[in-house]
Symmetry: C2
Subunit: 152 residues, 2 copies
């Protein structure tokens, strides 16, 4: 098993970051504009990704496993790319003075395949989009996301 790890520091309260991780508008503001569902424990959120020309790149369904206000968000992937199904995504938040530290983990990859390399870099891009959304009010969610290669 292998994990993707990341960290960003966001000049904000943990509450603002938590809101961006647990509301449809928040998630649509940094990950993908095509976010559906409700962020509550036991519910499923669906995220669809498109190119600027409208072609669909893929989608993921995430079951919300845990929500600890201003501290932790935990999802399990229940549909999407084969490598993602059963993996878990965790956002841990802590306040550090004027900053909110976000420790991110996408855990439970069975093999360190090339797609895992891709997703690792892409998660960094999206976490920087989260940072930008909370700090400036404007993120870069799909389909406006920063591209890392000739596919996505």
């Amino acid at each position: 098993m292998a994990d993707i790890l990341h960290k960003v520091g966001i000049k904000s309260s943990v509450n603002e970051v938590y809101k961006a991780l647990t509301t449809r508008d928040g998630l649509a503001g940094w990950w993908t504009e095509n976010t559906e569902g409700e962020s509550k424990v036991g519910a499923t959120l669906t995220f669809r990704f498109f190119n600027a020309d409208g072609t669909e790149l893929g989608s993921m369904a995430m079951k919300v496993l845990a929500l600890h206000r201003a501290e932790r968000v935990l999802w399990e992937c229940v549909d999407g790319p084969a490598e993602w199904i059963g993996s878990r995504i965790v956002f841990d938040l802590k306040q550090d003075g004027d900053w909110c530290t976000v420790l991110f983990k996408h855990e439970g990859w069975k093999e360190p395949v090339e797609f895992m390399h891709h997703c690792s870099t892409k998660w960094a891009i999206f976490l920087m989009s989260l940072k930008s959304l909370v700090e400036t009010g404007k993120g870069a969610p799909s389909p406006h996301d920063v591209k890392i290669d000739n596919w996505n």
Copy 2:
């Protein structure tokens, strides 16, 4: 043991990317302006990182273990942060039509500490700087690098 993985696609030949990974000017153009040493097998490269105000953030010394022209660059960290010493950094290149795919690995972390989260995100930022350098002629090496938190 845990590894940091990343991937970027660069619209370029593998030769151009290899040059950016194996010359002092190339390395200074995307990782840190303060790059010293010679990129040859057995030699050591030293990379020092500064804030915009001139305070030093840290430095790393990398022994060049292998250079396979236009295919692979392999370093071992021989000095720097305790967590880095003995870890290895690998860049694998392959041509995919008009694009060069870079598979990156920073392998051999003993523990998935918070600093590993930080370095994972920061490597993504620097690999995007490498992409920018090769595609546009201008990267964002330290001290002009994109900051991910209140420290670096």
